[in-house]
């Protein structure tokens, strides 16, 4: 490495505009070979745009890209692949119906005669997976793999193509804590074997644990770069957001009163006959936050659906203020004061092609004063939407824009405004800060705690241990559709919790 080029990748003054929006404004970036380099910034800061330019998805309007010290023009992903770049996208680029091997060789298939040489391909995949410690069954259908395994397939795909420089876009967003630990050891192993790794993220703890160097972006610009050993989380957060940010949730001791929600022996079977929920019982009192920890797919989604009235349990009861609400549907529950922040906001929380004003009345559309006898009360809706957008800091504050055009954080703020505005007595928040910026996370947490202090009972489901532990007054752990235990968020360690979440 002594006489090699100084940087594996360099971007010089790269600018990219989408219409009036400057997504990348004279971005400079230099990544040393054989290092792990983190690019951090909030959603919309331009990290992904910069990487998509590097990978040839977008064409830069201005600026230069140097690979291994030479100026290169990258017209498309195939050019990038030829130059030794590999990208692992946040949303995996995998074909579910194909096998692991087929996915890996796609676009670079070894042939024997006219047919694909599947035996050779399979052997090569096994070789790579052994060499880099990426264990995965080469014959499995990708759609049946866990998210962590799918990610390994993505990494293998880039290695199969001979990537020397790996770009990972938000690689930990969808992983369990154990999977994150495994990924990190894989990435460190890749670095040991001489690969250069760029990781895009907004999770500061991970940046500090993994990377050697950090570049911070905000509003399309590079704000600064520093060595990880000189960085602190609060300093990085300030650079990302542009102001001081509270990383820890600040809240008073809970003052729980009488039970609001009580769930008794709820069981539910999936349509395929598998157990979704088994004998789940718990209560949540006024003025407390119950956090539910668990690896995704262990019944949390179904539990929230049962509580929101979207699914009927096969047995058991749900009581709100002592009243049996098991047979009631979502709308009736809503009018009794149940607010629901759905896990998948793009699918269940919003109509993406409707504007903010229309989205702000979902679920209330048939109630007065939103609706009159026949017609919607446009004046009221507009006034209310304007107020929500202001109170909940939705940006840009334009209620005539379609929801699709907003960042995840701002979409979530609108949903929270809509749900919290009616002062609910029970809040069901599923993954309330998934894919949301640090600044917006702080805001959402504050709003949840405000309502708790005003006497609401809150159920929070989150895949983020940090969120579970900092937000929850009590924490229960789900595994395999059952509640496997309750822990005290003040004393439990992440390791203990991680073990319970995996059935240990």
């Amino acid at each position: 490495m002594t006489d090699g080029p100084k940087y594996a990748i360099e971007m010089r003054g790269v600018t990219k505009r989408f219409g009036a929006l400057v997504a990348n404004d004279r971005v400079n970036l230099a990544v040393a070979p054989g290092s792990i380099h983190a690019i951090i910034g909030e959603n919309g800061a331009g990290k992904s745009t910069a990487m998509n330019i590097l990978y040839g998805f977008y064409k830069a309007d201005q600026g230069q890209i140097l690979i291994d010290g030479e100026v290169r023009s990258i017209e498309g992903p195939s050019d990038a692949i030829k130059l030794g770049l590999g990208m692992v996208h946040q949303h995996f680029m995998l074909v579910d119906t194909l096998t692991v091997t087929e996915n890996i060789i796609l676009g670079a298939e070894p042939l024997s005669g006219m047919a694909i040489d599947f035996a050779k391909a399979r052997a090569r995949v096994l070789d790579l997976s052994n060499q880099y410690g990426l264990q995965v069954d080469p014959d499995a259908r990708v759609g049946r793999l866990s998210v962590g395994q799918q990610q390994r397939v993505e990494i293998l795909k880039t290695l199969y193509r001979g990537a020397r420089i790996l770009i990972l876009d938000e690689p930990t967003a969808v992983l369990t804590p154990q999977e994150v630990a495994e990924l990190f050891s894989i990435l460190r192993g890749l670095r040991e074997q001489g690969k250069t790794i760029i990781i895009i993220t907004h999770k500061l703890a991970e940046v500090l644990a993994l990377s050697g160097n950090i570049t911070v972006m905000r509003d399309g610009k590079v704000i600064g770069g520093l060595a990880t050993k000189d960085a602190t989380a609060s300093e990085l957060a300030r650079m990302m957001v542009g102001r001081e940010v509270l990383l820890r949730v600040e809240k008073r001791e809970a003052e729980p009163r009488s039970p609001t929600l009580s769930v008794q022996c709820v069981s539910l079977k999936n349509p395929d006959g598998g157990v979704a929920l088994y004998d789940v019982s718990f209560t949540v009192r006024e003025g407390e936050i119950l956090a539910i920890a668990g690896v995704e797919g262990n019944g949390q989604t179904e539990l929230i659906e049962v509580l929101a009235g979207l699914r009927r349990p096969d047995s058991g009861e749900v009581r709100l203020d002592g009243r049996n609400i098991t047979p009631l549907g979502p709308h009736e529950r809503k009018s009794l004061g149940v607010a629901h922040i759905p896990e998948d906001r793009r699918r269940r929380g919003l109509l993406l092609d409707f504007d903010l004003a229309e989205n702000s009345i979902l679920g209330l559309h048939s109630d007065r004063p939103v609706s009159g006898a026949f017609l919607l009360n446009k004046q009221f809706i507009t006034a209310r939407a304007e107020r929500l957008v202001k109170d909940y800091d939705v940006r840009p504050p334009d209620i005539k824009l379609a929801a699709r055009g907003f960042s995840g954080g701002n979409q979530q703020k609108l949903i929270i405004g809509r749900e919290f505005d009616s002062k609910p007595k029970l809040i069901l928040a599923a993954q309330p800060t998934r894919g949301v910026d640090i600044g917006a996370i702080e805001f959402i947490h504050r709003k949840i705690i405000e309502l708790r202090d005003a006497g609401a009972a809150v159920v929070v489901v989150s895949a983020e241990l940090e969120e579970v532990l900092s937000l929850g007054d009590r924490v229960i752990v789900m595994f395999g559709g059952r509640i496997v235990g309750e822990v005290d968020p003040k004393t439990v360690t992440e390791e203990e919790l991680g073990l319970m979440m995996t059935g240990g």
Binding site: L94, D96, L98
Partner: protein, 313 residues
């Protein structure tokens, strides 16, 4: 009992194979298109274009092989319109297909008026100007098989051969893997350096080629002229067979035999059973309806089917 044996016998199977031939070709054609992510309801129109072109060109040049090649070319040309509209210009694929179907209800009568001063039909071809009957050397000696597989038009053998060929292409070759990837997750294929557009063009053009040949079988194989709307919904039945067969070449083939068999039976029942002929003729269509409504609940189409691929977010 006598009635039954006069309906169900070996020659019924032979006629099932014949009747299934255009269905098999159109269905396999549709498979290439739809596995690549482009819905092709234009199979009916493409078959009509093939059937008309085959008969018209044969009538003009007195050689069925030229007619056959012209039919394949016509299928390609019509599917190229489909491809350009639905891939290049990202038009709604169902609307494009429907437009082509309507267009080719009208084009053949117009052309036959111009070429042959007729109102929708082409001139009757002499027998020696239709495609010849072929016998397979060895099979002619085998008792049962010779009744099933001898004396068919070349297109019948071509269709039967296309089933394993399509299986091989789809599941063993680079082209097939890429085509399937493009139909399931075009973004993934794109990031792997595969041209989504090119693969989809190939899929749609192949559908045109095969459905065009399937159409030719109707006019210069089974019959000796083109008549107005002579496909009579076969393109749609082929589409139904594709869905019934779960977008798998063997599945689609078996589904085509099923529908072809139903039609073969309904033809034989006419005049033998004391049921008005109109009722017997609707059997294949009713079966299609029943099968599609009732039996295919779990068929999963290619995931990206019907969605134009847009690169920029």
């Amino acid at each position: 009992m006598e009635t039954l044996t006069s309906i169900i016998n070996l020659s019924l199977l032979a006629s099932m194979v014949r009747i299934s031939t255009p269905l098999i070709l159109a269905s396999l054609g549709g498979l290439y298109s739809e596995r690549g992510g482009v819905i092709n309801i234009a199979l009916e129109g493409i078959m009509l274009s093939g059937a008309f072109t085959a008969a018209a060109v044969t009538a003009l040049y007195h050689n069925p092989w030229i007619g056959l090649i012209a039919a394949a070319g016509a299928g390609l040309a019509v599917s190229f319109i489909h491809a350009v509209a639905s891939i290049r210009f990202r038009a709604n694929q169902v609307v494009v297909g429907a437009a082509i179907n309507i267009l080719f209800l009208g084009v053949p009568p117009l052309m036959s008026g111009a070429l042959f001063q007729s109102t929708g039909s082409t001139p009757q071809l002499p027998r020696e100007q239709t495609l010849p009957d072929w016998n397979i050397p060895l099979i002619g000696q085998v008792p049962v098989l010779n009744q099933l597989f001898s004396g068919h038009k070349p297109i019948v053998f071509f269709a039967l051969a296309m089933v394993p060929v399509t299986y091989y292409v789809l599941f063993r070759t680079r082209f097939g893997l890429r085509l399937r990837a493009v139909g399931e997750n075009p973004e993934a294929a794109d990031t792997a350096g595969i041209s989504v557009e090119r693969m989809r063009y190939a899929g749609v053009l192949l559908s045109g080629l095969l459905a065009g040949i399937g159409g030719a079988y109707l006019s210069i194989g089974q019959n000796s002229l083109f008549t107005r709307n002579m496909t009579a919904g076969r393109g749609f039945i082929a589409l139904a067979a594709l869905i019934f067969g779960k977008w798998h070449p063997v599945g689609a083939f078996l589904a085509c035999l099923f529908f072809g068999g139903a039609e073969a039976i309904s033809i034989r029942m006419q005049g033998v059973v004391a049921i008005p002929v109109q009722f017997i003729q609707i059997i294949p269509y009713v079966l299609t309806l029943v099968v599609l409504a009732g039996f295919i609940g779990r068929a999963t189409p290619p995931r990206a089917i019907g969605q134009p691929y847009v690169k920029e977010k």
